[in-house]
């Protein structure tokens, strides 16, 4: 591994730690809170709107910097998604994701972050999540994951 590759791993680690800390502070590690946000007709908890708002504002500020940079600090080029088409896969996949997210209140970030708490239900969720990803790759054919 050259030196930049080591730095890239360190940057990914730092990004993960900040992400996990942010999830913990915001309360979004907690599936009960997430479901409280999604429960708009009963006892609505608007906190997630503040979390998403804060995240998007800071992220947008950083992405404004990206437009002025010829390449990222540690790599040769930016690997940002270039797909623009809104197709059936995007909509059906997102709809399926939303049903699972609503059922449990966990999405991939909080699920992986809360593994460190060692709760059996979270470990089970993560195992099922990876099984779901593998099932998709089996049924639909694995394609390199670059399109967001």
């Amino acid at each position: 591994m050259n030196r930049n590759a080591v730095y890239r791993v360190a940057a990914a680690l730092a990004s993960g730690v900040i992400f996990g800390l942010g999830l913990s502070i915001s309360g979004m590690l907690n599936p009960a809170r997430v479901r409280g946000f999604l429960d708009i007709t009963r006892d609505w908890d608007p906190t997630l709107a503040f979390v998403l708002g804060g995240a998007v504002i800071v992220s947008a500020a950083g992405l404004a910097l990206v437009r002025r940079m010829p390449r990222p600090l540690l790599d040769d080029r930016f690997y940002l998604p270039e797909t623009r088409v809104i197709d059936r896969r995007l909509i059906v996949g997102s709809a399926i994701f939303g049903v699972g997210w609503g059922m449990v209140g966990l999405c991939p970030g909080p699920a992986l972050a809360s593994l460190s708490l060692g709760l059996p239900a979270t470990v089970l969720f993560v195992a099922a999540m990876f099984a779901g990803m593998a099932a998709h790759d089996r049924l639909q054919g694995a394609r390199p994951w670059q399109r967001v």
């Binding site: 997630l48 979390v51 997102s94 939303g98 999405c107 972050a113 099922a128 994951w145």
Partner: protein, 135 residues
């Protein structure tokens, strides 16, 4: 009010995390994408580092505040398994989840991500609403 403030602060850290990854490595901080590539055996060094970092976040929180962040998962085990399968399959098929589409995609004003977020928010709200009748 304090919960909104901590929500905003935590959200800004999540945004900062995305900024670090894109400025340093030029990559989108989409957790389902990172996890999916790990499963495919692609970009395993950075992916593993990101996931380890992710799970260290709550540990850091505990070191500073003296307690674990609250996690209440009330769903029964069959629901947890079904939800996990759908989250994995759906995020893979839809090319992203709440972080990739929700945070980075919206910040990039991607119409694709706006469509994805609108769709999964709608089905998640409908799911919680319908499940409310069985509890």
């Amino acid at each position: 009010m304090a919960t909104y403030a901590s929500g905003l602060l935590g959200g800004m850290l999540i945004g900062l995390s995305a900024v670090v990854l894109v400025l340093a490595n030029g990559r989108v901080a989409g957790v389902s994408g990172i996890a999916g590539r790990l499963l495919q055996g692609v970009q395993t060094a950075t992916g593993t580092a990101f996931v380890i970092g992710l799970s260290l976040g709550p540990v850091l929180y505990r070191l500073v505040l003296g307690e674990w962040p609250p996690v209440v998962l009330a769903a029964s085990w069959p629901i947890v398994v079904a939800g996990g399968l759908l989250v994995g399959y759906g995020s893979r098929m839809g090319s992203g989840c709440t972080s990739g589409h929700g945070v980075v995609g919206l910040a990039r004003l991607s119409r694709r991500s706006m469509a994805a977020v609108g769709t999964f928010m709608a089905t998640a709200v409908a799911t919680v609403y319908l499940m409310g009748f069985f509890q």
